[in-house]
């Protein structure tokens, strides 16, 4: 029973991270039809910032803010320097470009920071926890789950209640008509990248709190998980991204619990395998969102 509960908390905590990554990916995708593979590198940027600031003795709270800010700035730079000129390019070109951007950034990290892992000096409270009976709960997990819940809730309200939020939704539906409402195309795109960058930054904080070292390719794995979460949920829909993130985490933790020790190294392969079977069953993802590829800017 305790073990079950323990696994459940693990899954929700992991699912929170995946959901945040998936949301960040989905926001940009829904508006620009751009699968931004460099989303992982936004997380890596946050990771290196966290490493550098904590090393310099900055208070953890400020370091966390700096990390998020770094992701947001990186996201905005990406939009301005790489993606803006390609807004009307065909989907395949966009896809390859974002892949190339991801590769280029990884190479740059390698150039600046080297291949060796940089250990992040986490504050002590990350390991702290409390007990309920036999069950030991880490404060970190509680923190991750609560913050993610708050973020998802406020994102929901933002998209429902503010004009910018409504514009983000309408642009995902029909960009041309959104401009007819007098809403600036650039503002929408920049807004989407800012949100995406902020989500990448926060997801990175949680990710690096559980895996406390950063290498040039750190962002690849969470990025891929986030994308797979989006695809099994239904690429382009935000609720689907959140559901996909949690589903993926439950698959992962569940398989890990069931699998024998000799198989657990293959966890990722097995989870992806299950995801593929899910796609066999529903090629459009669980929510099977309708996509209008032609309505980009």
């Amino acid at each position: 029973m305790e073990l079950m509960l323990q696994q459940f908390i693990n899954a929700v905590s992991l699912g929170s991270i995946y959901a945040l990554v998936a949301l960040g990916v989905a926001i940009v995708f829904s508006i620009l039809r751009l699968a931004n593979f460099a989303h992982g590198e936004l997380m890596t940027v946050a990771g290196y910032t966290l490493y550098a600031t904590l090393l310099a003795g900055v208070h953890w709270f400020l370091a966390a803010l700096a990390a998020i800010a770094a992701s947001v700035i990186a996201a905005l730079l990406l939009e301005r320097l790489a993606y803006r000129r390609l807004r009307s390019a065909n989907p395949l070109t966009l896809l390859i470009t974002s892949f190339a951007v991801s590769v280029a950034l990884q190479s740059l990290f390698l150039l600046f920071f080297g291949a060796r892992p940089k250990g992040i000096e986490l504050p002590a409270f990350v390991d702290a926890g409390f007990r309920i009976g036999q069950l030991r709960v880490q404060w970190l997990d509680v923190f991750i789950i609560v913050i993610t819940g708050l973020i998802v809730l406020s994102l929901h309200l933002f998209l429902k209640k503010t004009v910018i939020g409504l514009a983000l939704r309408s642009a995902a539906d029909d960009f041309r008509t959104t401009r007819l409402m007098g809403i600036k195309a650039n503002a929408v795109v920049v807004g989407a990248f800012m949100l995406s960058g902020a989500l990448a930054g926060i997801a990175a904080l949680f990710y690096f709190a559980t895996v406390p070292n950063v290498v040039p390719s750190s962002g690849f794995e969470p990025m891929l998980k986030g994308f797979i979460a989006c695809v099994i949920g239904g690429l382009g829909s935000l609720p689907a991204a959140v559901v996909g993130g949690f589903l993926l985490a439950f698959l992962e933790v569940g398989s890990d619990a069931i699998l024998s020790n000799s198989l657990s190294p293959y966890l990722d392969a097995i989870v992806f395998g299950i995801a593929i079977i899910l796609l066999r069953w529903r090629p459009g993802g669980l929510f099977g969102v309708r996509m209008t590829e032609d309505l980009r800017v």
Binding site: L166, A167, R169, R176, T177, T178, L180, M181
Partner: protein, 256 residues
């Protein structure tokens, strides 16, 4: 090529030359790659007028409206609105300067509510201002009160058209462009749409209307232009255009 009217001849064109022309397109040209949709087109709309733009399918009417708001690729000519050159402005700036387009096919944001659609139409308004405008539209569009929180995509075609017009009106535009508002609607609903246009006319909204339903459109319009193959075939007062123009140009039997 028949030239029943000549829009360059100012005596034949604006209904009242004294009234201030708020929209003026001069030598406008639109091309999609090699396809020339609009060629050397001159058009004027004066404040308070209803001007109708007629023409067969593919004549270039939608291209013309879209060109005014900067959505179709303009390759020549210029457009001024209230004396300001808007030729090179972006769509969003043109809309903000007071022109609103109800696009062909309505194009509501179908998975958002009616209210949310209207909120976007009045994106530049402050919340309190928006509420006031929203209320103000209720008597003209009762549907807004009844279905405010319904998903726009679930409304009937006629209801959607009303929401689309309302959405264009919330921002209090000084010029309304309507692209085939009666398209695909049942006759009884078409009546409703024309009623709305007439009501707007009473409220002194300036309208540039594209319609397939030439007869009805000419009845409510002050002036009209008839387009064919991207050029103006005829222009003049609505009453004068009625008989001859429709036969000649609009039905596609013109020289072209």
């Amino acid at each position: 090529m028949s030239s029943l009217g000549n829009q360059k001849d100012s005596s034949a064109s604006p209904a009242n030359p004294a009234a201030d022309v708020i929209l003026r397109a001069t030598g406008l040209a639109v091309a999609y790659g090699a396809v020339e949709a609009v060629r050397n087109l001159d058009l004027e709309v004066a404040a308070g007028e209803i001007v109708v733009l007629l023409g067969a399918n593919g004549a270039g009417k939608s291209s013309m409206l879209n060109a005014i708001v900067g959505l179709s690729p303009r390759v020549g000519g210029s457009i001024t609105f209230e004396g300001h050159d808007i030729t090179r402005k972006s769509t969003e700036m043109i809309v903000r300067s007071g022109i609103s387009l109800v696009p062909e096919g309505r194009r509501l944001f179908s998975n958002m509510t009616v209210r949310e659609n209207l909120r976007l139409g009045g994106a530049a308004l402050r919340p309190a201002e928006f509420e006031r405008e929203f209320e103000r539209l209720h008597d003209l569009f009762p549907i807004l009160r009844k279905r405010a929180d319904s998903q726009a995509g679930l409304l009937s075609g006629g209801e959607q058209q009303q929401v689309a017009i309302a959405r264009a009106l919330v921002g209090r535009p000084r010029l309304l462009l309507l692209d085939e508002p009666s398209l695909g609607l049942a006759p009884i609903i078409v009546n409703r749409v024309f009623e709305i246009i007439e009501e707007l006319r009473r409220r002194k909204v300036t309208i540039l209307l594209v319609e397939q339903n030439a007869e009805r459109a000419l009845k409510i319009a002050d002036r009209g232009y008839v387009m064919s193959n991207g050029v103006v075939e005829a222009a003049g007062r609505a009453a004068d255009l009625q008989a001859s123009a429709i036969e000649n140009a609009y039905l596609g039997t013109a020289g072209a």
